[in-house]
């Protein structure tokens, strides 16, 4: 240990007070109650049940969402099957034009989507406005162009549509995940039954409105809502040809098992526990920004979050000090405020899960550190958290927490850090920070992960394939490779 010298401290509370900068919410249109979007129309659920969706930042009810049961799922699948016959025969050029329309309509209504996304899911308005919604529109725009060019994507093969795709998406990027699923499915001539997560159904239902306005033929996209039970009904429906799931590794494994006796094609985009590796020759201030973006982006509700920090031992003290200083500047609070960096935890259930991991981490002997920020008295919030002196066997190091919680380990050699980074069942993403090009390529080729960010972190683009190795799933979303899961060659 180096001798402790007195560091100057910064008092951000007095020096860095921001005036509130609240996003206007008056322009949005929301119904009190939402039904299921099947065959181009909103229809009452057979279950006759609705459940409430809450704003996690205020705990206030926003609207009521229909709960789809087996009969509703069957109705949606039948509509999608009926629509498939026509949709797969429409000329590819025209198919593409429908998808372009959807992209444009999202761009036109972008701010309304952003506000609702933040209201329903708790993510900072800055992120929903600048990342989620524009990327969702871009994703439709990108795949629209593929529709009439598929013969160039697969040399020597003639790609054929699969049929009806059942798609189940998570609550961390609700509209963006809907776009990742629907856009390539439509471009390749499939029809869709999509289920958003039960805590974040609203932007998917607004997308249903938009799809209605776009004139897309009835039944090509069906959006049904509900919780795990509804998802299971989709997975088990005999007339579905393809399941695409994004969510936890546990549920992904259940789905893989459930469809074992069928010919359903499957893609899984599951959990992660990414190593973010800082070498001593890295530009440390940039690396600290990357650490912060890696773990605190979207409250850490990110499957590819850089949740395991590995710092080379000789710079660990300085990196940790800079990181702690930077954490003091993070604004935790009202997600609708444009100054907010870290918004609300998506649900009470998720907050309990994160808090439980905080207890586990402490009990295992890692040193907890949290920024000194206050958190609102109402709503679900979690302070940005570090676990220092964590070790490879700790549960907080091995398991996905899905919250603003970063474990920190140190290393001396490249061999050691590669070994530690790869010694985990997950393999979704990784980060590397160094100024040396050859070291970057050494690391990026040895890390067993589907996405590797070098000297950057948490960047996404519709042209860029995304997906995991090992227990983080299989199949890719985005780019040319994202077409493959939706065609038969």
């Amino acid at each position: 240990m180096t001798k402790k010298t007195k560091q100057p401290t910064l008092d951000f509370k007095t020096d860095w007070a921001y005036a509130p900068a609240l996003e206007d919410t008056k322009h949005i249109n929301l119904k009190k109650q939402y039904d299921l979007f099947i065959d181009g129309k909103f229809v009452k659920p057979n279950s006759k049940k609705h459940f409430a969706t809450y704003n996690p930042a205020t705990e206030e009810k926003i609207a009521e969402i229909a709960e789809a049961n087996e009969k509703d799922v069957d109705k949606a699948v039948k509509a999608a099957r009926k629509a498939f016959d026509k949709w797969s025969k429409i000329s590819a050029k025209e198919r593409g034009k429908y998808i372009y329309r959807i992209a444009r309509l999202i761009q036109e209504r972008a701010r309304e989507f952003a506000v609702i996304e933040t209201m329903d899911g708790g993510k900072p308005i800055r992120e929903s406005r600048d990342i989620d919604i524009p990327l969702a529109a871009n994703h439709f725009f990108y795949y629209a162009g593929w529709a009439d060019k598929l013969e160039y994507a697969f040399p020597d093969r003639t790609p054929k549509s699969l049929g009806v795709a059942g798609q189940i998406i998570p609550w961390n990027f609700p509209l963006l995940m809907a776009a990742w699923k629907i856009a390539p499915a439509l471009a390749t001539g499939n029809t869709v039954v999509l289920k958003p997560a039960e805590t974040t159904s609203l932007t998917a239902l607004k997308l249903a409105d938009l799809i209605q306005d776009s004139g897309l033929p009835d039944g090509v996209v069906n959006i049904i809502t509900g919780a795990g039970h509804t998802g299971a009904a989709i997975v088990n429906h005999p007339d579905i040809n393809k399941i695409a799931f994004t969510g936890s590794t546990d549920v992904g494994k259940m789905i893989q098992k459930a469809i074992a006796g069928t010919d359903k094609k499957l893609t899984l985009e599951l959990g992660g526990k990414a190593a973010n590796i800082i070498f001593d020759d890295a530009p440390l201030d940039q690396a600290v920004e990357g650490i912060v973006n890696g773990i605190f982006f979207n409250q850490g509700h990110v499957c590819c979050a850089g949740s395991r920090l590995f710092v080379q031992e000789n710079v660990a003290d300085i990196v940790i000090r800079k990181l702690k200083d930077r954490m003091e500047t993070l604004v935790v609070g009202n997600p609708m405020d444009k100054n907010t960096d870290i918004g609300a935890i998506n649900s009470k259930e998720q907050l309990l899960k994160i808090n439980n991991y905080l207890k586990i981490g402490k009990a295992e002997g890692a040193d907890i550190y949290q920024s000194s920020c206050g958190i609102p008295s109402k709503g679900y919030f979690c302070k940005p958290t570090l676990f220092l002196n964590a070790s490879q066997s700790h549960r907080v190091v091995q398991e996905e927490i899905f919250g603003p919680v970063l474990t920190i380990q140190t290393f001396r050699t490249i061999e050691e850090v590669i070994e530690k980074a790869n010694n985990i069942p997950y393999g979704l993403s990784a980060g590397v920070w160094t100024d040396k090009g050859s070291k970057i390529f050494n690391l990026t080729s040895k890390l067993r992960a589907g996405v590797v960010w070098a000297n950057t972190y948490n960047k996404f683009d519709p042209t860029s394939p995304f997906g995991g190795y090992k227990e983080s799933g299989f199949g890719r979303e985005g780019g040319l490779h994202g077409l493959m899961p939706y065609v038969r060659l």
Partner: protein
Amino acid sequence: MPRIEIQKTYKIFINGQFPRTESGRYYPLKNKKGDVIANICLSSRKDFRNAVVAARGAFGGWSGRAAFNRSQILYRIAEMMEGRKEQFIAELVAQNTPVKAAKHEVEEAIDTMVYYAGWCDKYQALFSSVNPVASSHYNFSVPEPTGVVAIIASEYLSLIGLVSAIAPVIAGGNTCVVLASESMPLCAVTFAEVLNTSDLSAGVVNILTGKSEELHTHFSTHLDVNAILYCRNNKSEIKTIKENASLNVKRVFVYENDLKLIKAQGPYFIFDFQEIKTTWHPIENIGSSKGGY
């Protein structure tokens, strides 16, 4: 007195060596007349686990080799097969394949190996992409091998089926553990001898003989196997394999129909056992290229 022929002992192939099965069990292989022509190892779970250790150990070295070098080694395998051509034909004939069909199968098998030798350093160009992201980053995607692949090879196409399953898997940098045809295992053991004299590193291909009925559960539950390729058509085994695969999210491929075609070839068979890795790096935007650019 006529010379007594030396009969061959058919053994399994693990980590570049030819042990007998640790189980000590065997099954007799008979020809059409009912004569026993060989005693074949009935491999056990322990043999499989040893083979997976060997395959995992070989993975870093094999996937890390230059693609050109992998290509040369696969070509070398084809050369060695050509030298053993008559032996392969004789074994197929001994296992009741008509002479003409046997000759055709062996020739196709050798040509298939040459075909995939050529792909070793080419599929990457086909399945890679440079992705024009909207932000200031350089972004590209490349295929990388999935890891250790467990293969239950074709029951009826005992040589061409075996080669068509193994070649794309190792051309792509994976290592594998293979269960040979139960009713026609002779060529698989001879093929192991070919591999062992082809500069292929120990452990890259491991070949077991025995019963799928006994082994498919172990193949599919092993947590250090990344993918499984099943080339038979037993529906209940397929279901069990797919269910067990979910334990560690194994990739499962069933070539039930594909390998009935003797010419089941193409880079997409390599692609099945590849993972796509996408790498991002920022591009600095300082200075200006001005008009001269």
